[in-house]
Structures are given as C-alpha cells and as structure tokens.
C-alpha cells in the first residue's frame, strides 16, 4: 500500500514569493491534515479536511495561506507572499476517518526555507 506522498520535498524562496505544496493521501482515507513543523518543534495543525470539506482551518494564517482538496483526494497548500517565519517543514497526513484515537499517517514532508 502506497503511503502519503508529498511534493516538492524542498523549496527555497525569497520573502514575498509564493509556493504550493501537493499531497496525495493514502487511498481510501477520507481525512487529510496539513501540519507545520518548525525546526526542533512538534507538528502544529494548520487545517484538515473530511473528503472535500474543510472541517477546521482556524489555525491557518488565512491572509497568506490557503488549502484546497477539490475532489476529496489530493490536496494543495499554498503560501503567498512568504515570510522568513514560514520557514518550516509542511507535513501532510491522512487517516481513515477523523476523531480521537485515529492513527495519522504522515508523508515525508516538504521543507521550506524562506530567505
């Protein structure tokens, strides 16, 4: 069974540039999550979807960050006008359904450096 696939693995931007990260979850997993992991910190939830619907995006910096999952499968996280503080690894995860007790399966992450 294929795991969660993310691309690109690395991105280096200058401040003010935009970047999009793509995620392909495990087949059959209806819940998809985007986490931000700054260096030497734990993952912090940005947004999550059940199928194509956004369930919680309260921690997504909405002025510059956006995320979509139009067909309930793949997802894209976009950062516009990047700032140095956005430097982090962006992790995508999926689970068979949402709720406490569900195992999250993470991709390898997309590492972003903003200079």
């Amino acid at each position: 069974e294929a795991g969660v696939t993310q691309s690109p693995r690395y991105a280096v931007l200058q401040e003010g540039q935009a970047v999009s990260f793509w995620c392909d979850p495990i087949s059959g997993h209806d819940t998809l999550y985007w986490y931000q992991q700054p260096r030497d910190q734990g993952p912090q939830l940005l947004v999550y979807f059940r199928d194509e619907a956004v369930i919680d995006n309260s921690q997504l910096p909405s002025d510059r960050f956006s995320a979509v999952r139009p067909k309930g499968t793949n997802s894209t996280l976009k950062i516009q006008s990047a700032k140095q503080g956005d430097t982090a690894t962006y992790l995508c995860a999926s689970s068979p359904n949402r709720g406490a007790g569900n195992t999250l399966y993470f991709g390898e992450g997309s590492r972003l450096i903003v200079v």
Binding site: G42, L45, D56, L91, A100, G101
Partner: protein, 113 residues
C-alpha cells in the same frame, strides 16, 4: 500555553539501557495519548498509544506508563538500540469536542553504541 509538555529536549543513553521519556499535559479532557517516532528527513510515525482508562500499555520493548491524577505519562524504551535514535513526540487528544491531536515539542533520543 503549551498543552502537552515534554520536559527534556534531548536524552542520551547507552545501548542496552532503558530510556525514559517524560510528558505532561494540561487539559483534563484529553483521553488518548499516542507517541510518534520521527527519524531525520521523515514524517512522524505512530509508535504506541494509550487511552486514559489504562495505566500501562506495552508493545515489545516500548511501554507507556500513565498517571491520570498527576496528568503525566512516560515512554520507557527497554534495551535501547542505536536504531532507536530518533525524536519522540508525545501527543494528546480528546474524544469529546475538538478531537485535534496536540503534539509536544519532542525529545531527541540518542543511543550510544
């Protein structure tokens, strides 16, 4: 406010020793506590988990001890191996309300051969 706290940023043990990683939490509603293991360049992966109705969960060399009254838990890695060198994240979530999985800041374990 850190809802899930891991007291040690790093821990070094010798091969064969028992590594003990500690974690505490603030929210009494948390009832599910997984530990995730992360190697450099990889995403976190579930290692072992416990629910608040239990005080101990064992899986091979890995054991979680849970103290609901004190709101803390620990991960014991028996007979540590160099291959166990990784960062370990304690996490927590609640069945009711927002189920969101909250991660601690991680403990980087190094097992010296």
């Amino acid at each position: 406010q850190q809802q899930v706290r891991q007291s040690s940023q790093s821990l070094t043990v010798w091969e064969g020793e028992t590594a003990i990683l500690n974690c505490s939490y603030e929210n009494s509603a948390f009832d599910y506590f997984p530990w995730y293991q992360q190697f450099p360049g990889e995403g976190p992966a579930l290692l072992i988990a416990i629910r608040s109705v239990s005080d101990k969960k064992e899986d091979g060399r890995f054991t979680i001890f849970f103290n609901k009254r004190e709101k803390n838990l620990s991960l014991h890695i028996k007979d540590s191996q160099p291959g166990d060198s990784a960062t370990y994240f304690c996490a927590a979530s609640a069945s009711s309300g927002s189920w969101q999985l909250i991660f601690g800041s991680g403990t980087q374990l190094t097992v010296m051969p």
